[in-house]
Symmetry: C2
Subunit: 320 residues, 2 copies
Amino acid sequence: MAVYTEVDDEALFAFVSDYDIGNVVSCKGIAEGRENSNYLLHTEQGPFILTLYEKRVNPSDLPFFLGLMQHLAETGVKCPVPVVARDGVALRTLAGRPAAIITFLQGVWPRRTSSLHCAGVGRAMADMHDASKTYAGKRANTLSINDWRPLYDSVSDHADDVTAGLSIEIEAELAHLEATWPKGLPTGVIHADLFPDNIFFLADKISGIIDFYFACTDYLAYDIAVCLNAWCFEPDAAMNVTKTQHLLAGYEDVRPLTHQEKTALPILARGAALRFLLTRLYDWINTREDALVQPKNPAEYLHKLRFHQGVKDIGAYGLS
Amino acid sequence: MAVYTEVDDEALFAFVSDYDIGNVVSCKGIAEGRENSNYLLHTEQGPFILTLYEKRVNPSDLPFFLGLMQHLAETGVKCPVPVVARDGVALRTLAGRPAAIITFLQGVWPRRTSSLHCAGVGRAMADMHDASKTYAGKRANTLSINDWRPLYDSVSDHADDVTAGLSIEIEAELAHLEATWPKGLPTGVIHADLFPDNIFFLADKISGIIDFYFACTDYLAYDIAVCLNAWCFEPDAAMNVTKTQHLLAGYEDVRPLTHQEKTALPILARGAALRFLLTRLYDWINTREDALVQPKNPAEYLHKLRFHQGVKDIGAYGLS
């Protein structure tokens, strides 16, 4: 939870006056989101989200992200869209930061995930993958397999302070993944961060997907691997095979997986677990004193990684 | 900025279903407020504020606070009001905390205060003092002069770590205030925390006052003293006499000060400065490692205290 950039009310009024969305009637910082500053802005036309992009987002990636949201919405995927100002431009500047006003998406993200949620997530993810096929934008995944070793090297001196023996485990996993990472899987634009707080529900139905600021071009099945980890483990670190079944079945209702993708899923799930283990480790080590954001414990993803290390094939996820 | 208690979506739906305000369509934690957890809740009927009262609020005081908001609104003061559930009760329980849904107040608090704001604040404060005369509730000020010495004693060992010589300055000030604190001034229900983030404006007009969770029975002029400190100093710690003039003139448009109140104002302003110096000092010393809230620097209030120490009479604030 964080608002990194405070917005002066006078600067806000001037910023909003460039849009055709009426006058500001309220603007409150939201205690969600780790990467950017988000405000819930009310104008005479209703609620909007005002986002100021902070330093962890590369400004040159913003046209890709905003264009993707626009494209997905036009293709029928439920997601917020950037609002353009009178001059037709959505990406602007406020308080010295790149900033955009985004439409408000109704819904609440599920604090406890159910199998019903997981089936919907699978379908919505496949719909998004289908819709993104016609999106012209491309963006390399800056947190993919080639980036994990340099990321790990930057924190390796402190890994064992977090958990004894962690450095040996990570180094062995890196070597294994680098040797066995699949090649040539179906590729497209993936969300890459489809955690429960990025999918909103209303009455058990998905009302939309938010936060496309990790979206990138990578294996479609890697997006599934991220979701298996984010949605299908119980608080005691046990994988819930009913949830993985529902998630995969929901996905395949829309887009059946290829044989290669099915075979690769356990290794992709290990990779996805390591990716979040590493970024959480980085945050844990580098922002322990940060007063704005409490880092998430890396151990959660170490347990998930160990689970997938024991998986022989996709049968472990309930798929034949 | 803080949300101390996370609200489970299922618990939220059950909580809101006890009200006649429609179904939940969104609920986001707000990155404002230091004492309680606040959510901006949208239902089918529009926006509301959902507040979970945290440990710094005494639950037995909540009927006083909620009753005061209800009374003030009924008397014409612009402020949010508690929403009652179908059983007629406003104060309820959510996620193990006392909780209430409050009406949403439009407006934005001024990040930079102007003389125009100050005149409005003076008038609104006097209107509130008038309106609270007919409120039957009473609540002792738990942060008044008798509480400052014990509060200081709890942090005195660390005061000089914050600023060299601070302990000597505070001890001398405590002794002075205890010897000279005025007696028998007009008393009533005061807000006691009328900082800029608690007064909302729309187009330079006050749209309302929020956050009555420090309200108490004390000298009415002490509320003015808090405001002089909170609204009338520039970022370089210089008092702006145009702002104090506007604040006091605005107040006296509605409720003229007595001679005793005018005479007492400099000492009340010293007391109000010491009160916030002490609580900020306490937070600085006790929550430096807290990841949710960045403590405010106590030095700001030390500079304000020193200013008032040099004040001979109310003429320094621009009043004859």
